[in-house]
């Protein structure tokens, strides 16, 4: 029997190699994939989030943990799907039109994947129609918009308008973030949620997916 706490610690320490090795071993010995996720992996990511909140962890630790989580999930997800368990939700994420900055977006994308979301990464400088298509044709239930430049924040509003014009605004939740973005701005443009950092973005996406 593999020592499953090692999976928890590997994720907490951002050690993808060990996380994958322990997961492989556990699955080979018929440990329930759902148990791995619920008892070891999700609690580890929650602890990562807490450490980030209290400034024990910063972006590098966050990213490494998310990658370890993703490595394990890649092995587990096919089994979960086969057993009929649904992913937490499908998110279409991108940096809005006119903005080429993708560090923040990539970070949130990695954290969402680590949090069990099915993420469609549309890249940077994404036209509003592409978000609309991701909702219409690929079934995204959450649209996550990122901007770094103050001058491109307006593209968030344009994107939300495009979702309305396409008649799909009611089918999705829109979350926004990025250095110049604030809670107040998010409300003004009619977004459903704002998060200040990549860690709280996961909690926000979970709330939005459940509502």
């Amino acid at each position: 029997m593999p020592e499953l706490w090692k999976l928890h610690d590997a994720i907490l320490n951002g050690d993808a190699k060990t996380a994958v090795a322990v997961t492989t071993e556990a699955l080979a010995e018929n440990v329930s994939p759902l148990e791995l996720v619920q008892k070891y992996m999700v609690p580890a990511m929650d602890l990562v989030g807490q450490r980030f909140e209290c400034e024990e962890y910063f972006v590098p630790e966050l990213l490494l943990a998310a990658r370890a989580m993703k490595g394990s999930l890649a092995l587990i997800r096919p089994l979960l799907v086969a057993s009929g368990a649904e992913p937490v939700g499908r998110v279409a994420i991108g940096t809005v039109k006119g903005d080429l900055h993708d560090i923040g977006k990539n970070l949130v994308s990695a954290m969402l994947e680590g949090g069990g979301f099915d993420v469609i990464d549309l890249g940077a400088d994404v036209a509003p129609e592409k978000f609309v298509n991701a909702v219409k044709e690929r079934g995204a239930k959450i649209v996550a918009l990122s901007a770094l430049l103050t001058v491109t924040m307006g593209s968030m509003k344009t994107t939300i308008q495009a979702l309305k014009d396409a008649g799909v605004r009611e089918e999705v939740k829109v979350m926004v973030g990025g250095a110049p973005v604030t809670e107040q701005f998010a409300q003004e443009i009619g977004a459903d949620g704002y998060s200040e950092n990549a860690s709280s973005a996961v909690a926000l996406a979970r709330r939005l997916a459940a509502s």
């Binding site: 910063f58 972006v59 590098p60 630790e61 006119g98 903005d99 900055h101 560090i103 924040m153 701005f185």
Partner: protein, 289 residues
Amino acid sequence: MSLLEELLAATPVLTDGAWGTQLQARGLTPGECPDQWNLTRPAEVEEVARAYVEAGSRVILSNTFGSNRITLAGHGLAGKAVELNRAGAAISRRAAGDRAKVFASIGPSGKMLVSGETTEDELRAAFAEQARALAEGGADALVVETMSDLAEAKIALEAAKSTGLPVVACMVFDTGRNKDRTMMGTTPEQAASELAAYGADVIGANCGVGVESYIAICRRLKAATDRPVWIKANAGLPELVGGKTVWKMTPEAFAGFVPQLIQAGASFIGGCCGTSPEFIRAVAGVIGR
């Protein structure tokens, strides 16, 4: 007398303010590569540089912040890196004449090392190419700025140092409860000691969450290093009013923080996002030259 000794004979040295917003006022559209204007609209770029010299800047930067080939690739301009940097440095040099020194700008790649989006070798090659071209264009010194990742800052710093020019290295402190760490978690003390160890001639902080928060950062940098300290702070945080980005801090309010920056040990003072030649003029009034 070396360039830095000459400048530091009278401190604080007034540097410049933001460039992007000045270019937008001259027609740059969101999403367009500002650095490309070094080749396509050089007259407008020179106007911005000249406006800062007129406002009293003794040091001006250059319109080359995003001119490393990794960032340029996002605009399909990677092959233009050398040309853009040479032109950018030369434009600032022309505007500066003998009234100001040109500290040419080197910004971050926009890609993360820790996630594997880029590699140390890729960064080393890109920054070396940029630094060389800036030196060829006539830069008097180089500024590695707006860095969040100490590892990337050190690579850019080494590349800049290899030109033989004096080098300023500064990072953005905008993260955490007290907004006193870089996005990657680096403290001012860590930044100061590591950047000094890698040969930075001047150490500093730029951008961030507003000038008031950089007073304490300045004090901590000063305490952690024997190098002169460089501060280029933002005019607070922007607000969106009726679809337009507005910086509410006035030039006078910004300049009002300058005495505290001087007291905290800043040798070079200027502005970053939200500032303009008017801000530099107001700071010049406070400094008294």
